[in-house]
Amino acid sequence: MATQATLPKATAAKFRARARDWPQIRAAYGFISLWIVGFLVFTLGPMIVSLVLSFTDYNSIGTAKNVGFANYRELFQDPKVAHALSNTLVYVIIYVPTAMAVALGLAMVLNRVGRASGFFRTVFYLPVMTPTVAVGALFLLLLNGQQGLLNRTLDLVGINGPNWTTDTHWVKPGLAITMLWGVGGMVVIYLAALRQVPKELYEAVELDGAGSWARFRHVTIPMISGSLFFTMIVQTIAALQMFDQAYTMFFGAQQNSTYSNEAALFYVIYLFQQAFQFLHMGYASALAWLLFLITMVITAVQVRVSRRYVYYEGEKH
């Protein structure tokens, strides 16, 4: 009985509060309305359209013909899909951990030199500003098997470098080297994170007699794990979508090229070809959804595994 008596009262109070907030709510939605429209027209809508298209045969001009699951069945039989997928995953596995390790190493060294770090930080970041097509063109020359700078340098130390742009086994490592040149963004993020680590923590574990590895393992890594986690997710998603440099270096108008580009057929390149060169928009939409699912699964696994290791300052446990 008592609850029944108070309920209308509470509801009325809530409504009065709502009425008072109404101008605020209206204004708030006014401010974010642009984003809502953009989300509907350029994200949610397209995703639905893409899902619908993935069950059709569509060449962008005529009408879409419903083909049921035919595109998805074809995905699993198309050797090029398997090929592009394995190329992409191999590249992700080579590039992401290497880039994180190199960036962390550079950031830790930078963290030791005080004021000079500003200068070096700038130097490491400069390649990130370079247009990706220019990076591709530049490394096509630097990675050249006979005359390229990298192999000439390796010669100096007695290593006979592989043909990075034509040897199918070395194309993906070569692209990873190309992308490593742009590792400066991660260096900057890690350096900022390292500077947030309280010095007292190091002193405390030092008193416990921890060696340098133990300090790295039990203080540095946990304290910057948030940034490590963030870059891992972002870099993995970006690497799964590798396009610009690989396309610049190995694909283009000259389809009669003298070298093999099979080893550089990444997933998004194949998707692009299917959609915009062969105009198989329905099939390409199915490809897009497969990429979406793969990305989601990989991200979810990373989140799940990392949850145990990531430490956020100020987080309540």
Binding site: L142, W213, A275, S285
Partner: protein
């Protein structure tokens, strides 16, 4: 909450330098500052050479005759500045540079204003649905662009705008999730009392945004602006999808066509490719020279949890 962009940067450098003796550093090694900094500086100097050498190589290659481009000599045997005029004979570089400037400015102006507007909505107001909607903003940050590539193309196709430069920037009118996130973080760091005081004085909600939040956020807006200029200047995929007419090409699309013509399988004029690559890069280097502190502080903020 993460600190606002620009609050860390240089000051943190001093902290490291003034660290007391016995402070632990890389891998926790005990290092007395200044005296033992040498080895680290050597490592960094070597790394800096590795990172800058490709630029130096590119400048050098752009000054070499065709037969010597790949000889890897740092000082060209024969300096040939004519490559720069040659490029103009082979390709409408000036048109492409102009196109890139137009597109980049349109992209950056629209995305900065719209993202700020949306970010202010999320930062200032408490309203039903806020957390769900902001979760969606963060979610779209993680969404691969390739997933929406085809249907977004069909949207522009439907509007009859494929084959024009409009699709390269117009989506920015609706804001971009990463910038909304970045600017919201900044707006949250502004003292709320300031806005309340202005409200009491009869300032409208839009006035709070336009007359208080925006002027106080110039550093953050500059970061968004420069990030977008850089992203737009680098974009290859969308020009490939939307542009057929050579005279509408942006610099990356034009550079790609130069590589197709004069690179592997083409006529092999690598000095033209090197020179064109350098020309495409120089504007970004100039922007970086002016805005590097802002850019680097912005990147540093990106990796912190919001």
């Amino acid at each position: 909450m993460a600190p606002a962009p620009g609050t860390d940067g240089g000051r943190a450098g001093n902290r490291t330098e003034d660290a007391p003796a016995g402070h632990t550093g890389v891998l926790g090694w005990d290092l007395r500052p200044a005296t033992k900094r040498g080895p680290y500086l050597i490592v960094l100097a070597l790394a800096a050479v590795v990172f800058t050498y490709p630029f130096i190589w590119l400048i050098s290659a752009s000054l070499k005759p065709r037969t010597e481009v790949l000889d890897n000599l740092l000082i060209p045997r024969h300096v040939q500045a004519s490559n720069f005029t040659e490029v103009w004979n082979y390709a409408p570089m000036l048109t492409w540079l102009g196109n890139s400037v137009t597109v980049a400015l349109a992209a950056a102006v629209t995305v900065t204003l719209s993202s700020a507007l949306v970010a202010f909505g999320f930062a200032y107001f408490r309203f039903p649905g806020r957390n769900v909607l902001f979760g969606l903003v963060l979610g779209t940050m993680m969404l691969p662009q390739a997933v929406t590539l085809i249907p977004v193309y069909l949207v522009w196709d439907h509007l009859g705008l494929t084959g024009t430069q409009v699709p390269l920037w117009a989506q920015n009118i609706f804001g971009s999730s990463f910038y909304i996130f970045l600017l919201r973080q900044f707006f949250l760091s502004l003292p709320r009392e300031m806005f309340e005081a202005a409200r009491v004085d009869g300032c409208s909600f839009f006035g709070l945004f336009w007359r208080i939040a925006l002027p106080l956020s110039r550093p953050a807006l500059a970061i968004v602006f420069v990030f977008e200029i850089q992203a737009s200047w680098s974009d290859l995929l969308r020009p490939l999808v939307y542009l057929q007419d050579t005279s509408l090409f942006t610099i990356p699309r034009g550079l790609k066509s130069i590589i197709d013509t004069f690179g592997n399988g083409g006529e092999q004029h690598w000095e033209i490719i090197a020179t064109a690559s350098l020309i495409a890069t120089i504007p970004m280097i100039i922007i970086f020279a002016f805005a590097q502190r802002h850019i680097i502080d912005g990147i540093a903020t990106q990796g912190r949890k919001g």
